[in-house]
């Protein structure tokens, strides 16, 4: 098992090195893209800052707590986007060109190959922005409140990992859709619109909206739930939300296998 994991990781890093080398051929574009990614994702936190400066805010959430929530989501995105979201566009391109079968001709997991080939270093700009915001907000909040702060930190780390896994699930879902929806440039826009709900505390949503964001589309787990655990105010729905997110990822993996089996390629 460990040998297989090491073997898989060796392949993954070899492909990742290739993808990075390919991206490095246009370093100016890479640098500009990274800065744009960083700035674009900092718009909402800056707006939050303005809102709080004018005396308004999210009920029950101090300014730095709200910024911490948003930083959590940015960190999760900053990890998931460079490593997972490139596969959507790679798949769309390969399916459109009829060259997806070149991946199927390799004696490895197609998903592993896709992930390795699709590394997007420019998206690490999101991660830098998220870490910077997190470092700014963290000193001004109380970690774990009355509870043990190390337990809160551990819980936060576990939920952040789940957030990254859930984002991987979203990326894989969009990859699956790209088999049947070739002109899927709208997918990312739909995802951005839906995932934007992860940037705000739950207090601003109605009960039915919360139900949707927790059970149907697992958005809560992307920011709110990890941040609330770190602040020592875990949501009562946390265990079910975690279960829901894991189920979502498993269902998407099942869908991926089905789409792969159904792939018929373009004509000769």
């Amino acid at each position: 098992m460990i040998a297989r994991l090491r073997d898989g990781l060796a392949v993954y890093f070899c492909l990742l090195r290739g993808a990075l080398a390919a991206r490095m051929t246009d370093r100016a574009d890479l640098g500009i893209s990274m800065i744009i990614m960083l700035l674009a994702d900092l718009v909402v936190p800056l707006t939050t800052l303005l809102v709080y400066q004018h005396g308004a805010g999210f009920t029950g959430w101090q300014r730095d707590e709200a910024l911490l929530l948003q930083a959590t989501f940015l960190i999760a995105k900053g990890i998931a986007f460079p490593f997972c979201f490139g596969m959507i566009w790679t798949t769309t391109e390969l399916v459109r060109e009829g060259t997806f079968e070149l991946l199927l001709l390799k004696p490895r997991s197609t998903l592993l190959l896709l992930l390795g080939h699709s590394f997007q270093p420019e998206d690490t700009g999101k991660l830098l922005g998220g870490i910077a915001l997190f470092c700014l907000a963290l000193p001004n909040v109380t970690i774990g409140a009355d509870a043990d702060s190390s337990a809160a930190l551990l819980g936060f780390a576990a939920l952040l990992l789940l957030a990254v896994l859930t984002l991987f699930g979203f990326a894989l879902l969009m990859t699956c859709l790209s088999f049947v929806w070739i002109g899927n440039s709208r997918l990312q826009e739909i995802f951005d619109a839906v995932s934007a709900f992860a940037l705000y505390p739950h207090g601003i949503f109605t009960r039915s909206a919360l139900g949707w964001l927790t059970w149907v589309i697992p958005v809560s787990v992307l920011g709110y739930l990890p941040a609330s655990v770190l602040l020592g105010r875990p949501d009562p729905a946390l265990p079910l939300a975690v279960g829901g997110a894991l189920c979502f990822v498993l269902v998407v993996i099942g869908l991926w296998r089905m789409m792969l089996a159904r792939y018929a390629s373009a004509g000769g």
Binding site: E101, P107, G267, G268
Partner: protein
């Protein structure tokens, strides 16, 4: 032409039995109303891409797989490479069913596509070769040895270190071959490997295929370039409308239509109407020159020569076999 069953002298390495693939496609008209209607409802149609084909290929063969566009060649190739599930039928390659346990199977085969690159555009082929070393779990020492052998055979020592986008098409194709052969596959599927190449690059690629075949690799070659077939394949499988219409060696293919000859005739007197059984006038080249096709089963050659000399007086006579292109066209018809 009657279908001839291909005979395999050695134990088959590829065995295909009544393989079938049916697709569902959508149909719509081209008018605005029909386009609008297709947004809500599309008529489906079942297409039999491959209609129960059977053949066997022995180890060490080079088999040409021919057919017009849309004949079912690529679909068959995709099923044999494990990329596509058939609708029905069986196939075994190297004792494995390609579409079952795909990952284990594809470790033993190679594929080169003239129009689909396995290299990465922005990085040198050498980097892509090293990716394949990891993907195929190749022993580093053996990988280096195989790489050196292939690089020497194809004479691309300098090119493998340049970014792929800087290579000529010929150099790129040579690197595609290295990419496909690094894991020393026993069976290699080639899909139009010489498309767009100049004569020198074609010759180098063909020489490489012959060399690897002499070392024991079996090749299945799909191409529209009949020179490739003539120079490489000893056996040809022709597929049309999803069915095998010819399966036999090249000599049998040429002999089958070898009963027909092309005759370029220069005469002393202008040849008028030629109304002779088994003789077809193909072209009048000049007043006293014609191109004829002669079916020697209906009109023996000596009898025709005597008749032509008596009728018009023969100045010059050239007898040719029917070109392979025309033979194939007959099969495609």
């Amino acid at each position: 032409m009657d279908r001839q069953a291909g005979t395999v002298a050695v134990e088959p390495i590829i065995s295909v039995r009544t393989l079938r693939k049916t697709y569902t496609t959508f149909e719509r008209g081209s008018t605005f109303a029909e386009t609008l209607k297709s947004v809500f409802w599309r008529k489906t149609r079942e297409v039999d891409a491959v209609r129960g084909i059977s053949f066997a290929i022995g180890a060490g063969e080079i088999v040409g797989f021919l057919g017009p566009n849309g004949a079912g060649k690529s679909t068959t190739l995709k099923m044999l490479t494990g990329v596509l599930y058939p609708s029905d039928g069986e196939a075994t390659v190297l004792g494995m069913t390609p579409w079952h346990d795909r990952k284990r199977y594809v470790a033993h085969i190679g594929a080169v596509f003239g129009q689909k690159s396995q290299l990465m555009w922005d990085i040198p082929p050498l980097d892509a070769f090293h990716m394949n070393r990891a993907i195929y779990r190749l022993d580093p020492a053996r990988f280096e040895h195989t790489l050196q052998t292939l690089v020497t055979l194809l004479d691309v020592g300098d090119q493998v270190r340049k970014p792929t986008r800087q290579l000529s098409l010929g150099e790129r194709m040579k690197c595609e071959f290295i990419m496909a052969m690094l894991h020393e596959p026993k069976v290699v599927f080639l899909d139009e490997p010489t498309i767009g190449l100049d004569v020198f690059a074609k010759e180098r690629i063909r020489g490489f295929i012959r060399e690897m075949n002499a070392r024991g690799t079996t090749f299945i070659l799909t191409t529209h370039d009949l020179d490739d077939i003539e120079q490489l394949a000893r056996r040809v499988i022709v597929i049309n409308h999803g069915c095998v219409v010819f399966d036999g060696d090249m000599a049998a293919l040429q002999h089958g239509v070898g009963q027909t000859k092309r005759i370029r005739l220069a005469t002393a007197r202008p040849p008028g109407e030629i109304d002779l059984p088994g003789v077809t006038l193909l072209e009048r080249i000049g007043e006293t020159r014609v191109l004829l096709e002669l079916d020697v089963r209906r009109q023996p050659l000596p009898a025709f020569v005597r008749w032509a000399d008596d009728a018009f007086g023969i100045h010059d006579l050239v007898i040719e076999d029917v070109p392979i292109e025309d033979i194939i066209k007959t099969l495609y018809a």
